[in-house]
Symmetry: C2
């Protein structure tokens, strides 16, 4: 089976330990699925104990054998009961009693934190190390970029399948189902992991016609009616007709690594204004590829993109309408949909090589529809490189 290389895991742990040291945290207890996968190479029912210095211990309740076969970390120690945790943490700290423990307080539920604090670590202070972890995860290694490029090949398979599957009268939900099957066949894992509380991604937003401009609660430029009030966003039962623009925004997952892509299609010529909007989106991409370089400040990049849109006279419809605007033009992604950097107003994070994000300058025209191109990019020394080999043309079928 596929494995995360040992050198990857070792480098990640080295960075984490360095940050724990400088932050005065004696040891971290990593518990969340995505972070476990990042630091161990597998998701198991486990705690990863990372001391600020010394050897990490992978404490696994279940499944111990599979943890050993899928992760390069040694030792893998079986956990029978949670009361085993404090002595193992102490052992990882080479016998000294740790005072400050780090956990992922951005995702750990409050009741679980209380349990760790009161029952297991009454003499320790538990502090949040989620920002340290997220900071490390922000810069992708060469291997990780390769994973995201392979996810981009799934995205291409999806984009290439649309002309075969899109036909008059097909519903958004059906088209989405067919494309999910294409994605699964191309290796899509079926996950779109999110870090933010309450955030849920189900494959993406496949939206068509004027109703595509329907806003939703989801923090994104596009919303959509959805199929149900239980998940009031994304594809609906609406049937696609000729002359409508169809926006295919999909989240592909290759062994946990994500690739977010939007391509637009139509059966026959789409409305001229949407065609123009798509062209503008593509032009903004071209310009942004040169502008978003290491050293650029994310908040300033956001404002620059808005400035280009204003100059083109399209700001009324950019990233939403009225008060329903997405506050960002790009969101970081990798193992989760909502990583750093967020390219949004007021953000001060500075771009560095190896950062990845989905850039989605989109136009929402009430009563007409939506249009816009989205690629997953990596920051290189001279600008952005797309991880999406799919054609960027608006496909008129």
């Amino acid at each position: 089976m596929f494995q995360v290389p040992e050198s990857e895991i070792a480098a990640r742990l080295r960075m984490f330990q360095a940050l724990l040291s400088t932050s005065g945290v004696d040891a971290a207890v990593v518990r969340q699925n995505t972070d476990l996968y990042y630091f161990t190479g597998t998701v198991q029912d486990a705690h990863l104990i990372v001391p600020a210095s010394g050897k990490p211990i992978f404490l696994v309740r279940r499944d111990v054998d599979r943890a050993e076969s899928l992760s390069p970390i040694r030792p893998v120690v079986p956990l029978q009961s949670l009361s085993d945790l404090p002595p193992v943490v102490e052992a990882a700290c080479k016998g000294f009693v740790p005072r400050r423990l780090g956990m992922e307080l951005d995702v750990l539920p409050a009741n679980l934190l209380f349990m760790y604090r009161e029952k297991l670590f009454p003499d320790q202070e538990i502090v949040d190390v989620s920002l340290l972890i997220r900071r490390i995860r922000t810069i992708k290694s060469k291997w990780e970029l390769e994973m995201m490029r392979l996810a981009g090949i799934i995205s291409k398979a999806i984009a290439d399948a649309v002309p075969q599957v899109l036909r008059e009268g097909i519903s958004e939900v059906e088209l989405s189902a067919e494309l999910q099957m294409v994605a699964h066949r191309a290796g899509h894992l079926g996950l779109g992991r999110c870090r933010t509380f309450n955030m849920e991604v189900v494959f993406g937003h496949l939206l068509s016609g004027p109703e595509a401009a329907t806003p939703s609660y989801f923090d994104s430029p596009t919303g959509g009616e959805g199929f149900s009030p239980a998940f009031a966003q994304g594809a609906s039962e609406r049937r696609i007709r000729p002359g409508e623009l169809v926006s295919v925004d999909t989240m592909a997952c290759w062994h946990g690594y994500l690739n977010d892509q939007t391509r637009d299609y139509s059966l026959g010529a789409p409305p001229a204004r949407l065609q123009e909007a798509y062209r503008l989106s593509a032009l903004i991409h071209q310009r942004f590829r040169q502008t978003a370089k290491p050293g650029a400040v994310t908040g300033e990049l956001h404002d620059a993109v808005w400035q280009w849109v204003r100059e083109a006279g399209w700001d009324e419809w950019f990233m939403g309408t009225g008060e329903q605007r997405a506050p960002f033009v790009a969101h970081g992604l990798g193992l989760e949909v909502d990583e750093f950097p967020l390219i949004a107003r007021g953000q001060t994070l500075v771009l560095q090589e190896g950062m990845t994000f989905a850039f989605e300058p989109k136009f929402i025209l009430p009563g007409e529809g939506i249009a816009g191109l989205e690629n997953t990019y990596v920051v290189r020394h001279d600008g952005l490189e797309s991880l999406n080999p799919a054609s960027e043309e608006l496909r008129i079928l």
Copy 2:
């Protein structure tokens, strides 16, 4: 669009307010997607303020218009900034300053709780009301049972499609993808919401042949290799051959309501022992339908099922092998995969009419494979009623 009836919402809120009153909680602030859907009829980016007595207020950041069209709750109040929350809570409490506020501390991340506690409600005590909410959600209304029955019709569509799709050489992942498409076409929403931290469900477990007995970290009798260490469970790239047992365990979702089902298949005759195990699983179902009545204690039901299995001489392989056993024989489900009741050792919850759970007596035979039937049941006055109309026969194709 589909809507949750106003009478449902009203009844749920009445029960919640009664429990808040008797628990001495002045008001609850409901935030989690599933609970919002349950109490308002829609998932939006919102807080639902439920005072112990008086009118609830649906405080919506986004999308206000859609909240108004999808939810019967009035008033819907737009939230501009989180600092609007405390005055609205006070208004809902008819102007008196609440002292004890309830939140869902089993799912709310620790950092978010700190924010509510320190920035917004420094003078209030925030207590956990998740058990109150989960208790109400345990008893399904007639309407909810109808939703779960409709989800069962999606499960039937999946089961009925297997004979058309299963062929020699198809991989588990491909078969799973084809069945997901069938499910989507039948109205499956593509969600399998979980309450437990780190729990993730992707459609279900489609497992075949001897490797089906591979255990995983997932808290369930079956595991499977999976396709990736990023999600080391479920369908793999293994190709299905004649004479193997194929276990199709799927999670269908109709407007948020779940139906969990397992049916077994084979191309040609499967191994005799697995056939026998499937037959025994079906017999256990028959017996359990009569035994699991209102008044039965869940822990005792669990032990009774184990007793039947011991009498049949199959306990060595029941619900796992060695130390890898699922501690339950059934898990509650409804809007989430992990609701009450849990029919597990030591549980003291007493069955009541209207409770629903997935009963999955399964046999795991290392080196041979897995077998077992699973239905979603509702507790009626005289025993269990299945919400799964799909044929329960082992299908030899």
